[in-house]
């Protein structure tokens, strides 16, 4: 067991720090959260800078156009960019963390050549068309149909909770290609152009008042068969590859961010007198311990996954604890800032946004089912 950098890792960290120190001051001011075109161009410009500096797709394999870094270097990258206050992955999230890794793993050479370079360069944005109004936690119950007509699928149905849909070029879409098969066996994974005729995007307003995601309505959208990833009806397995990536390191840097946030909150508390409240002080102390341990859990999970070859179920343990701790952090923040928590400011925005963490990417209840059944081996109920 060791946590310190090897000489090569220390060198990687030093160069990255230098690059961040030079690059971050050159960035334009961050756009308003409601300005979607502005967010797209800001996020893709950042991705382009990463690409030009050789940091794009840091953990992607070299033959997929990535840097092929070790998992340790990937974590150093996540830690250092977060500590330096670099932009988040933002609109590149689905491309870099879902669709891209799935194409890299499951795609043909042609598909990899077509889809991966534009993701890495920040030229193309992806969104995720998985959930449906009647298929949330029970994702495999999805009903959007794709009917084969020659070299094309004709897709009809609707999707929901599609982040970045308004500015996306591509959608990683799950469709039902065999309505008669058992529900997990009749699904296929398609790459769908968002400007194809028949695609309608309707933004959804969240409880935070922003439009973070959208509904997609698909009316006889034509998708070339060549844009199907994996075999027909094998989309569920292909999707599970993606989801294990999501629960692996996708939220890892945010654990570092939360550690920083606890320290910032302690400074606010010292300045406004909340620190004198023993109970509140101890709540902050407990959160500091929690986020430190969660970062260690990421390091543990990543080291184990590197040795074993695939992300393990440990990601569910992390996701479960992290999402709940983060909501607790926002609640404690509200107590620290007092009446300011009722104003529509940055603290409130975070607190409201945070309410999604125990729902998105698998609810906490689904995570508990996964932990109980896949890790602990408890039987599935009737």
């Amino acid at each position: 067991m060791q946590l310190s950098d090897t000489p090569a890792e220390a060198d990687f960290r030093r160069r990255l720090r230098e690059w961040l120190g030079k690059t971050l001051p050159e960035l334009p001011p961050a756009p308003d959260p409601s300005d979607w075109p502005g967010r797209r161009s800001y996020d893709t410009a950042w991705q382009r800078r990463l690409f030009d500096a050789g940091y794009a797709g840091i953990h992607w394999p070299v033959d997929a156009g990535g840097r092929g870094s070790t998992p340790s270097e990937h974590l150093i990258f996540l830690e250092e960019t977060e500590l330096a206050g670099a932009p988040y992955v933002g609109a590149n999230f689905v491309g870099l963390l879902h669709a891209g890794p799935t194409v890299a793993t499951e795609g043909t050479p042609d598909q990899r050549a077509r889809f991966l370079p534009p993701i890495l360069r920040g030229d193309e944005i992806w969104c995720q068309g998985f959930s449906e109004p009647d298929a949330g936690s029970d994702l495999a119950a999805l009903r959007t149909r794709a009917v084969r007509e020659g070299d094309e699928y004709v897709v009809t149905g609707s999707k929901i909770w599609t982040s970045h849909a308004e500015v996306a070029d591509w959608c990683e879409l799950l469709v039902r290609t065999d309505p008669d098969a058992p529900k997990h066996r009749g699904i296929s994974w398609l790459a769908m152009r968002m400007d194809a005729p028949g695609v309608t995007v309707r933004p959804l307003r969240t409880l935070a008042g922003t439009t973070e995601f959208a509904e997609l309505f698909l009316d006889e959208v034509r998708v070339p068969v060549g844009d199907r990833l994996g075999a027909e009806n094998d989309g569920w397995r292909v999707t599970m590859v993606t989801l294990s990536f999501e629960r692996g390191t996708a939220f890892a840097s945010e654990a570092v961010g939360c550690r920083r946030e606890v320290r910032r909150l302690a400074r606010v508390a010292r300045a406004n007198g909340a620190w004198d409240d023993l109970e509140l002080r101890r709540e902050l102390a407990g959160l500091a311990a929690e986020f430190t341990a969660l970062w260690r859990l990421v390091q543990w999970n990543v080291s184990e996954a590197a040795a074993r070859g695939v992300p393990g179920a440990g990601g569910s343990v992390f996701k479960l604890r992290f999402s709940e701790a983060r909501q607790r952090l926002h609640d404690v923040a509200a107590r620290v800032v007092g009446a300011d928590a009722l104003l529509d400011g940055p603290w409130t925005a975070q607190r409201l946004q945070g309410l999604s963490y125990t729902i998105a990417a698998g609810t906490s209840q689904i995570q508990r089912n996964i932990v109980a059944q896949r890790i602990l081996g408890l039987p599935k109920g009737r």
């Binding site: 067991m1 311990a289 929690e290 341990a293 343990v317 604890r321 109980a372 602990l376 039987p379």
Partner: protein, 294 residues
């Protein structure tokens, strides 16, 4: 960074787990295995290992619910070069000073309210037996004035206190993992409404939370052992105490009425978790240590 067990560490952990899964070893057998000489340098007859190996050993000791002055004896040997059985006892914020298994001890390492540490010969202490909640951890209450005496250098006192807290956290992490095994084992076999109770989500979610707490605590203990950082040690103890105490409570709940009986032995997990929660740094002390670093 490679934050996982080395092959040697994995063998150490599993070797000990196999030995302890059969039966409880006697003190002499534990001594022969080398538990108390783990970190003593090889030139002094020890095994010359580090804190990471020590927490793996104590995690297994916790899983097996071993009794006796394990932590104090190891820390006294590793940090102060003392031979014989020792217990590290902190004067609590409230209530009497309680020493477990006093008649067996050679030394009591007393941590006083000002954080100074004094080594006392156990035989010289004025103490009376006190009825203990944990049947496997009898207690003696110190009587009269606290013994005075020159404290050890501040650095040594700090290291003894930190090691005690970390190794106790390792015991708790092991105990927490044991509560998961016991609860899951029972939930798989106990049937109600025509199926194992472990098939009900209400029970599954209790078990999943137990595992999540135990896993986070285990990793926090390992990380604190590698970094040796006092803040991480306090955090690890906090998380391990929570995992052990709440794990034992949930384990009792999963066992239903059987959990409330003497012979089901679940109560022993809970009573020990309560005892170890107060050993080393307790919850308040850990939180205040963490707050001081914020």
């Amino acid at each position: 960074m490679e934050f996982r067990l080395t092959d040697d560490q994995d063998r150490l952990r599993h070797g000990l787990r196999d030995i302890l899964s059969d039966r409880q070893l006697t003190w002499e057998e534990l001594t022969d295995v080398g538990i108390f000489q783990l970190r003593v340098p090889e030139r002094d007859g020890g095994l010359g290992l580090g804190l990471p190996e020590a927490v793996l050993v104590f995690e297994e000791a916790g899983r097996a619910l071993l009794s006796g002055p394990l932590v104090g004896t190891e820390v006294a040997a590793a940090r102060l070069g003392l031979r014989g059985r020792a217990e590290v006892v902190r004067v609590p914020a409230r209530g009497p000073v309680l020493v477990p298994q006093l008649p067996q001890l050679d030394h009591v390492l007393l941590l006083r309210p000002d954080d100074s540490l004094v080594v006392l010969p156990a035989a010289a202490l004025d103490a009376a037996p006190a009825p203990a909640v944990d049947p496997d951890r009898p207690l003696w209450r110190l009587e009269g004035e606290l013994p005075a005496g020159e404290g050890l250098p501040e650095g040594e006192a700090r290291r003894v206190a930190a090691d005690t807290t970390l190794l106790t956290a390792a015991l708790q992490a092991g105990l927490a993992a044991r509560t998961v095994t016991e609860a899951v084992g029972y939930a798989r076999t106990r049937a109600q409404f025509g199926q194992p109770i472990g098939a009900f989500q209400a029970v599954q979610h209790l078990c999943a939370d137990m595992l999540a707490r135990a896993e986070l605590a285990r990793v926090a203990v390992y990380a604190a052992a590698v970094s040796g950082d006092v803040e991480e040690i306090a955090g690890a103890k906090l998380l391990a105490d929570e995992a052990a105490v709440r794990g034992a409570r949930d384990c009792l709940q999963v066992h239903g009425g059987m959990g409330f009986t003497w012979e089901a032995r679940v109560h022993r997990l809970l009573k020990r978790a309560w005892a170890w929660e107060q050993a080393g740094a307790d919850r308040e002390r850990c939180l205040d240590e963490l707050a001081a670093h914020l």
